[in-house]
Amino acid sequence: MRLVLIGLVAGTFSSLFGVGGGIVIVPLLILVAAFGTREATATSLGAIVITALAGVTLYAARGKVDVPYAMLVGLPAMGGALIGSAAQKRISGRALTLAFSALLAAIGVWLIAG
């Protein structure tokens, strides 16, 4: 039952913002369903495949999905993610994370003000 509720919340969040929903699923699995961090992250990814597929299907039915753009951004991102997670072990640092956090905040302000 808890998992069903997590799914409902995550699904709404995911399609509303165009994100996978891991930001919601991972902490909820840890706090509400007593998952360990690794299990929560992995299980969240598995759920996201279904959630994102559902989102794409429902948005595509409304003509909102731009397939060429998804491929142009998504395909290099898959390669980039492999590079990023391999590099993570070597260059994980507080300064870098704080810089990234500042970048996200700047984009957030740009979207709010723009």
Binding site: S15, I50, Y59, Q88, G108
Partner: protein, 128 residues
Amino acid sequence: MSTTTIVLALGLGLAAGVMSGLFGVGGGILFVPALVALGLGQVEASATSLLAVVPTAAVGTWRQARYGNLRVRPALLIGVASIVGVEIGVQVATSLPEDVLRRLFGVLLLAVATQLAWRARRRPRELP
């Protein structure tokens, strides 16, 4: 679509992927602003981002399953239950004015930025 746009899209995609791998955030949170920067509306950016999220999450799931971290039944249960929520989210996203949705997404980015900064602050000092 011009050559400049294509090169820019490829570059933004690569950068989004590297950052998501480096910092453990999902791709979508970076795809959406990248797509908005490329000129898509907020709803189109969300919808298109989700298509780019599918293969990324599938590859991640496959890797995690090999590590033995994936719990299949909870993942399926959450995923299937999420479909109802997805329909609600799509309804809300398509009925909200675009600029409201864009600002809400901006607030989400600020929240994630805060969470990351908090995590970095709490991380023990032995890391270089």
